[in-house]
């Protein structure tokens, strides 16, 4: 506690370029002992880049960093964690095929070795201690592939916290967590600070940042725009500094327009191998149906089952508007006008090495046919360019590899695929996860525009504000079942919704 207020980390004139792209340009800021520092900025502003440099994932091109007054230049994450800096990365950083304990001690099995043999019971016991400290609901001996996304994020937290880092870096993690997971994360952050240690938090959730951070460092296009202490937080001011222009206070829809009484999709007592038990509901034409709950409530599985990815072992998903066609695989779903945006965008919804053109055009091979089986280059280019232009995808051109886009622009490409395909029913699983407020606003506008065009949207989300802001009707799930149903016209009460979740 003696050190509170003194500088722990000092970043001086740091730059980083990737080829001709400058990710960081002369960035300087410092983090004190006992401080939660927030790094906030639009997609592509350089937040994750600077965090990864501090955590030893990649080197800076120029500039210096000092930790506890000493030069800080870790070359690996292992070196960084040994030196007192641990980071939870934005994308999942766990290995599926090994146990939770093995993930926690990955690359550091020496203390548990007896000759060439690893003493697994000792390792599991040690791992369980840190899991108990965090308060998670899975065991150290459990195989990692049995964990859901939230549990894996918490496993990453445990992996870092085991080393009791002086600086804990949390990169866009809370968006992958539901309410209960976030509560754990926030508790760990504040415990860290109570011990006189520090946290560097990266998030797009402004409310979360304002609530938990002592100071906000705003980044835009690789520059530090401002450092704002908590007493000077003003949402409008922060938003305008983030995007470089004035932002309106709210970006959700404000209407109470209803929808058609014609069902677009019927889930009839569907049961999946895991998570869902005899669940029924109807989705109407022109409806935005929100589905919320805690992360393990089954809502993500529901989205996958509706689109035919996860097997429905009993009951059926059918489309009344298509002669009651039963959807039991993704080919049928797509050919009957359905689209799906996965929560796990990079690994399931995109081919990252392929161009924007190849990704968007992948839903239109049939529609863009010219003579016989041959694809018309002109039609296809129009199909792609319309989405790039309408969705304002920030890119060098249609042939730019998708992996070079920021998270928000990648998400726009995924949206573009399905908008171009003119999908009548769109299932969106956490569509705004990891995207900045500017992109969020354009996503919400697009979703609303699709509703007005008579299309039906299922929006699965762990963020209650966006469900409340966008849904015509809201289904709350708990333990694989619908625990509550609420209508926009009656008004949504956040506390009531949470009561149905837990």
């Amino acid at each position: 506690m003696m050190l509170k207020g003194k500088t722990l980390l000092d970043i001086r004139c740091m730059s980083k370029n990737f080829g001709v792209t400058i990710a960081l340009d002369n960035v300087s800021f410092s983090v004190s002992y006992g401080e939660i520092r927030g790094l906030i900025g639009e997609n592509g502003s350089g937040k994750s880049t600077i965090a990864s440099i501090i955590a030893g994932i990649q080197p800076a091109t120029t500039g210096e960093a000092f930790l506890r007054g000493e030069p800080w230049k870790p070359t690996t994450q292992l070196e960084a964690i040994a030196g007192g800096v641990g980071m939870i990365v934005q994308e999942t950083g766990t290995i599926e095929d090994i146990s939770v304990a093995e993930n926690i001690f990955l690359g550091r099995y020496e203390p548990f070795k007896r000759g060439p043999v690893i003493n697994r019971s000792k390792m599991n016991a040690e791992a369980q201690k840190v899991l108990d400290l965090i308060g998670v609901n899975f065991r150290a001996s459990q195989p990692t592939h049995t964990l859901d996304m939230q549990q894996r994020k918490l496993l990453e937290l445990a992996k870092v916290m085991y080393h009791k880092p002086d600086l804990l870096i949390i990169d866009e993690t809370s968006t992958a967590l539901a309410q209960d997971g976030r509560a754990i994360l926030y508790r760990m952050m504040h415990q860290q600070v109570e011990k006189g240690k520090s946290v560097l938090l990266i998030s797009h959730d402004l409310e979360e940042m304002m609530e938990h951070c002592d100071t906000l460092t705003i980044l835009r296009d690789g520059h530090v725009i401002d450092n704002i202490p908590k007493e000077k937080y003003e949402p409008g001011d922060i938003k305008s500094k983030l995007v470089g222009r004035e932002m309106q206070g709210s970006y959700y829809r404000t209407d109470h327009d209803g929808c058609s009484n014609d069902a677009a999709l019927v889930a009839d007592c569907i049961t999946t191998i895991e998570d869902i038990l005899c669940l029924s509901f109807r989705l109407y034409k022109g409806e935005i149906l929100g589905i919320g709950g805690l992360s393990d409530c089954g809502m993500h599985t529901l989205g996958r089952a509706l689109y035919g990815i996860d097997e429905v072992v009993d009951g059926e998903v059918r489309l009344p508007g298509k002669g009651n066609k039963v959807i039991n695989n993704t080919m049928k779903a797509k050919s009957n006008g359905m689209g799906y945006v996965s929560k796990d965008r990079d690994t399931e919804s995109l081919e990252l090495n392929a161009s924007i053109y190849a990704n968007i055009s992948s839903t239109g091979y049939q529609e863009n046919r010219g003579i016989g089986p041959f694809i018309s280059a002109k039609k296809e280019l129009g199909y792609v360019m319309e989405q790039i232009e309408n969705l304002l995808i920030k890119c060098v051109g249609p042939h730019q590899p998708t992996r070079f886009l920021s998270g928000g622009n990648k998400q726009k490409v995924v949206f573009g695929k399905w908008v171009a395909a003119n999908s009548d029913i769109l299932i969106l699983d956490c569509p705004t996860r990891g995207v900045d407020i500017g992109v969020k606003a354009s996503m919400y506008q697009l979703i609303y525009k699709m509703k007005q065009e008579g299309k039906s949207i299922i929006m699965i989300s762990e963020e209650l504000p966006e469900l409340i802001g966008m849904s015509d009707r809201l289904l709350i799930m708990k333990d694989g079942k619908i625990s509550g149903e609420f209508l926009r016209k009656d008004g949504f009460n956040e506390h009531e919704l949470i009561n149905y979740m837990i």
Binding site: N17, T21, A51, E91, E351, N353, S362, T363, K394
Partner: protein, 336 residues
């Protein structure tokens, strides 16, 4: 994003960043196979006292390259989906045995051609079924089937050589049959690969199967289409094998699987499939690999050592061609 550099100083590039930029340059990718081919010529022309550039040597290289290139063009469809099949050698040999036998019994060239293609297509589709229906990895199925088809070929041929009347071979050759058939197949493959949904979907499947499934593409359906195209290529190569020498023996097709893989990587394509795949890399690669084989033989290197040299080149190229893996290990790198 170049617009971000305006008005700013650009920090100096590191060596590995320079390498990544050079590797990502499409002109470098386009030139690489040609440079490799020219390198072979520059090395072996003086070492063989100019014999490497003699008419006979060039024709020999072209004839063999035509066979390897035909198979590689067809097999490119399979590689693109992220699958491998190395059983093309014994399948080609088996198709050639059937084709030669049909010809010897009917004296009909069309029947010989048709039987070679039908047999090769059926066997390739059988391999595909093992993967698509029985969920055996294509490479595992191919390793097993290579042994089985090889054993069948040995049983049929024994130590003897199956011969076809050489006059028909010469007539077909003089009429330019091989080149005409090859170009027809190449153009059809190019169109199917680059202008229809088969090639496009193959690349999406090879790059990210989960994404392909969620996009409504059926990996199995396109895998069958890919094996069909490969089967046609292997069948045609069997015809070329018959007409080239008029003989089929136990050595026919030996090493074809690795030759095709090597030709593909020498041609600048990744055998891991995905976005950067194409239908034409195998052609220039086939020229390079056959020129390499020929050159090494002409300077007196034993066939065993040649196998070793090809292996080293293959591993080196696959390493250079593969992703470093850093992006997967370092997800935050994608966020800049």
């Amino acid at each position: 994003m170049p617009e971000k550099t305006e008005g700013r100083s650009v920090p100096a590039l590191r060596l590995n960043e320079r390498y990544e930029i050079i590797r990502a340059n499409r002109f470098v990718n386009a030139l690489f196979p040609l440079v490799m081919f020219l390198l072979i010529i520059v090395i072996f022309a003086p070492l063989t006292g100019g014999q490497f550039l003699s008419r006979n040597a060039i024709i020999s290289i072209l004839n063999q390259a035509l066979i390897v290139g035909t198979v590689a063009t067809g097999v490119a469809f399979i590689y693109t989906t992220g699958n491998l099949d190395i059983s093309v050698g014994p399948i080609m040999a088996f198709a050639a045995i059937i084709g030669a036998t049909v010809y010897n019994n009917t004296l009909s060239v069309p029947l010989m051609v048709a039987s070679c293609i039908v047999v090769a297509v059926l066997l390739m589709l059988f391999n595909c079924t093992l993967s698509a229906i029985f969920n055996i990895k294509t490479i595992t199925a191919a390793i097993v089937m290579t042994r089985i088809y090889g054993a069948i070929n040995s049983k049929i041929l024994g130590a003897s050589t199956l011969r076809v009347d050489y006059t028909i071979c010469r007539e077909l050759d003089n009429g330019g049959f091989r080149y005409a058939a090859f170009f027809a197949f190449f153009i059809i493959s190019f169109l199917v690969y680059h202008k229809t949904k088969i090639g496009r979907a193959d690349r999406i499947i090879g790059g990210n199967r989960s994404n392909a499934v969620q996009t409504g593409l059926s990996p199995n359906r396109f895998l069958y289409a890919s094996f069909l195209m490969a089967g046609i290529g292997v069948g045609l190569a069997a015809v070329f094998t018959i007409t080239r020498s008029g003989t089929i023996n136990q050595d026919t097709g030996t090493g074809m699987g690795t030759d095709v893989m090597l030709a593909t990587v020498l041609g600048g394509m990744s055998i891991f499939g995905g976005a950067k795949s194409n239908s034409y890399s195998g052609i220039i690669g086939a020229l390079t690999v056959t020129a390499l084989n020929k050159g090494l033989l002409m300077v007196g290197v034993s066939t065993t050592v040649i196998q070793g040299i090809r292996g080293v080149i293959f591993i080196l190229l696959v390493f250079l061609n593969s992703n470093s893996g850093r992006e997967k290990i370092l997800p935050s790198r994608q966020q800049f």
